[in-house]
Symmetry: C2
Subunit: 206 residues, 2 copies
DNA sequence: TTTCGGTTTAACCAAACGGTTAAACTCTTT
DNA sequence: AAAGAGTTTAACCGTTTGGTTAAACCGAAA
């Protein structure tokens, strides 16, 4: 795996480390396995990233920003809220399906060391006014009778919970509902519509 | 911790192992820590449960049955479906709040070794006709115009996803939404109503 | 009191782990 | 072609980990 001599070693390491950390978590990940997957040996791994912790910190940061980056789109106040929901559920579901282990990885590692992401959080809150603009947009659409009064935090949680959960618990879901890979794919496709509908209904007047 | 000489050693081990495995997962859990928490030494731990795997298998089985046991109530066909939802969301949320690490533990370990729970699943499917009775109940209430047509699997997933997610991702949620412990408690209390309402609305006619 | 099975312990073991070292290789610069 | 910095490797190190061993302890049955 990974043969090109010219390819950047650092990139190969990051790719491999990403794979292993996401799938197995900090405790389950072994430096030797990362080195093997990157096609190098352990010493070179330590040459590029001094320690497992340092390497992990880098990977976690990338993963966290990747996940948060997908939310960026919600702050575009040019799009009506309901339209945002429609597009977001679709895109977010696809994103998670392509990065199946990402959400659980973040959740697990933050559970393990809650301090881990406070610095990364500052990066988000730098652009605090975007959040305020979004809240204002919702407020306006509520006044206009398009939306009903609701707690955006709760609705947001509902949306990402319904999106993430089936993928996070995929083997569990497949096992209990006795699905094969195709069944699961169809189930998710159908799910997009249902989740979209539910969220929109839960923020619509009447 | 744990001083009573008379107390059953095996119980102390199970309690300690449960704590450690649930919080840290298989890879993060160390036999030494379990022994310490049980107030015994490592050799005695291996005397009772020959290996880490054996001990883990036992703990996982208990945890899985505990989680599944909470669903039992849904199969009581004496209660109308909507009433079931109301009661279930309330009870299930309380249960998870008391067992914060349980769902994530199950999800993680099943992801790690998907075969792990196939045998446990057989225990569930022994009582397959109960599921059929539940489906029949839903069908009847649909014919009676109480419920609309829906895929029970999707709605079930939505319900437990919305219940579990805030607890599984608790430190993440608290961090991003900047809550302290009290805030979070209030948020969850409010959540019960919202989730109940959303689920009921998504299965109600019109 | 002796004996005997279950219980508990300290000491030990081999493998796996994260990390280091020192030497060798490679490629560019002069 | 020599120097030099960056790159790569095999061998090694100390610690932690899951697991074992053999001996001591203890309470009940004989």
């Amino acid at each position: 795996m990974a043969e090109d001599k010219n390819e950047n070693t650092e990139e190969k390491i990051i790719t491999a480390a990403n794979d292993v950390f996401e799938k197995k978590g900090y405790d389950g990940a072994k430096m030797q396995e990362i080195a093997d997957k990157a096609g190098i040996n352990k010493a070179l791994l330590h040459y590029y990233f001094r320690s497992k912790d340092k390497l992990f910190e880098m990977i976690f940061g990338l993963a966290f920003r990747k996940l948060v980056g997908e939310l960026e789109f919600l702050f575009d106040t040019g799009i009506p809220v309901k339209e945002k929901v429609r597009i977001f559920v679709d895109r977010h579901t696809d994103f998670i399906s392509r990065n199946r282990h990402l959400p659980l990885f973040i959740i697990n590692e933050v559970n393990r060391r809650p301090e881990i992401f406070v610095k990364l959080l500052e990066g988000i809150y730098g652009k605090e006014d975007r959040l305020n603009k979004l809240l204002k947009q919702i407020e306006e659409e509520t006044k206009a009778g398009i939306l009903k009064q609701f707690d955006p935090r709760q609705i947001f949680l509902n949306m990402i919970a319904m999106n993430i959960f089936p993928f996070a618990a995929k083997p569990l879901v497949k096992g209990i509902l006795r699905m094969d890979e195709d069944d699961f794919g169809g189930f998710i496709a159908e799910r997009k519509k249902i989740v979209t509908e539910i969220i929109i209904k839960s923020i619509s007047e009447k």
